[in-house]
Symmetry: C2
Subunit: 237 residues, 2 copies
DNA sequence: ACCTGAACACCGTTCAAGT
DNA sequence: ACCTGAACACCGTTCAAGT
């Protein structure tokens, strides 16, 4: 990797630019990943990303196809942060629980990137390995292919759905449905008219403090024990 | 609403423009909704939307704040398509099942709009009314506020997660993880290397044909019966 | 009151030209 | 082989000017 003919100036690799590493797909992806984490998805532009790398925007096109290519790369970096636990002697359910929590955690740590994952098909290697592992553990536990497939879908739906609600549920909400003046953005859910929305008002304090882990576990437990009982109650459909 | 002083020319409302209705927030939202359904979210621009309405882009700003304002309007139009069933004599579970299916159907019919709903907090009136109804039915059935809150979260997570996978699961996928030439986009999941992804390859045919309703019901049933048993097994936490 | 021409500060992407 | 200046066809949004 290090060019052996290069002498002196130990910190820089050659004569490209003072102290600049060469561009690679990987370096572009990582820079974009950090940029989105820090500034949000909408702020990401080819020009600003290039500036972050000390380069002009057009240089990026020597390594990537287009912006979508970069977005796909960023998306898979989130899945790469989920480390898939080794299967100890534990049963499929606790193992799956740990994976589900690891996924929830990784996605929650990078909410700015989540919209990318949701926008289109994920075909990155990290995603595929995660999927493969989950299916394998279920198959080994005795689920048939059909059941493993459905269980996987249900679990993914739960994780994605939960992470979504961390951002998609309005804690602050406008009380006036029509055209609204500027300050309305910060009226709390609890301030909705109690006549129209009594039950929303009732649970408003719960919503405000609900992004906890046992919120997540509440649904996860139902899914895992539901799957377990299908496993126990018979091999048939 | 109809200006009484206007005479003749029954189809046009006045002298604004030949045959042009006046702009309103509602007309802008509906036009944008249809445009996104037809051409996708990324194709939506202020200029093209204005053209669709027979108007210049800047005119839109007389009625809406900015593009995000329009997006929020579009998002709530999807929820407005969910008609909330009247509560007959049925129990909370079948009623909730019907609402969940109605929501799944509305979202599935407007997949281009779904990313808007997922991108940020929903505070539209249609969304709030849906939420209020679901909470109310659960409370009436005997769930306490805490349980209703959690149940609502779990159900929403399931619906959103399911709809997501209709778009986010790769049916077609690249078999070569690194830089890939153009035609790779259309290599099927089933063509993944079987050594690395045996279980994905195994369920690939299931994935290809799985966007069925009983896929959805599989998880929904587990959630509903899980909630029912919590309701039966005691009022406490 | 509502619409618009012109303008501003941006975009993603291409391509011929540089080294 | 890799980088870039200049250019193209777009963006969202503002503002003063029109009716």
């Amino acid at each position: 990797m290090v060019q052996p003919s290069t002498v002196g100036k130990p910190s820089t690799g050659g004569r490209r630019r003072p102290g600049r590493l060469p561009l690679t797909r990987d370096r572009i992806f990582r820079a974009a990943y950090i940029f989105v984490d820090d500034h949000g998805l909408r702020a990401l532009s080819m020009r600003k990303l290039a500036a972050e790398l000390g380069v002009e925007a057009m240089s990026l096109y020597n390594h990537i196809d287009n912006k979508d290519d970069i977005l796909a790369g960023i998306g898979d970096l989130v899945f790469a942060e989920i480390d898939i636990p080794k299967r100890a002697s534990e049963s499929w359910a606790p193992w799956t629980r740990r994976v589900a929590h690891a996924a929830r955690e990784a996605l929650s740590d990078h909410t700015n990137v989540v919209p990318i994952i949701l926008a289109g098909p994920n075909r990155g290697t990290a995603y595929l390995h995660l999927m493969e592992s989950m299916l394998g553990v279920m198959r080994d536990a005795g689920f048939d292919a059909n059941m493993a497939h459905r269980g996987w879908h249900t679990l993914v739906a739960h994780v994605l759905g939960y992470v979504l609600q961390q951002t998609a549920t309005p804690i602050l909400v406008s009380a006036s449905p029509g055209r609204s003046p500027a300050p309305t953005r910060s009226i709390a859910l609890a301030d909705l008219p109690g006549d129209d929305f009594p039950h929303i008002v009732e649970i408003a304090p719960l919503l405000a403090e609900c992004r906890t882990i046992d919120e997540f576990d509440f649904g996860l437990d139902m899914i895992l024990s539901g799957l377990q009982s299908k496993l126990d109650n018979g091999p048939g459909r």
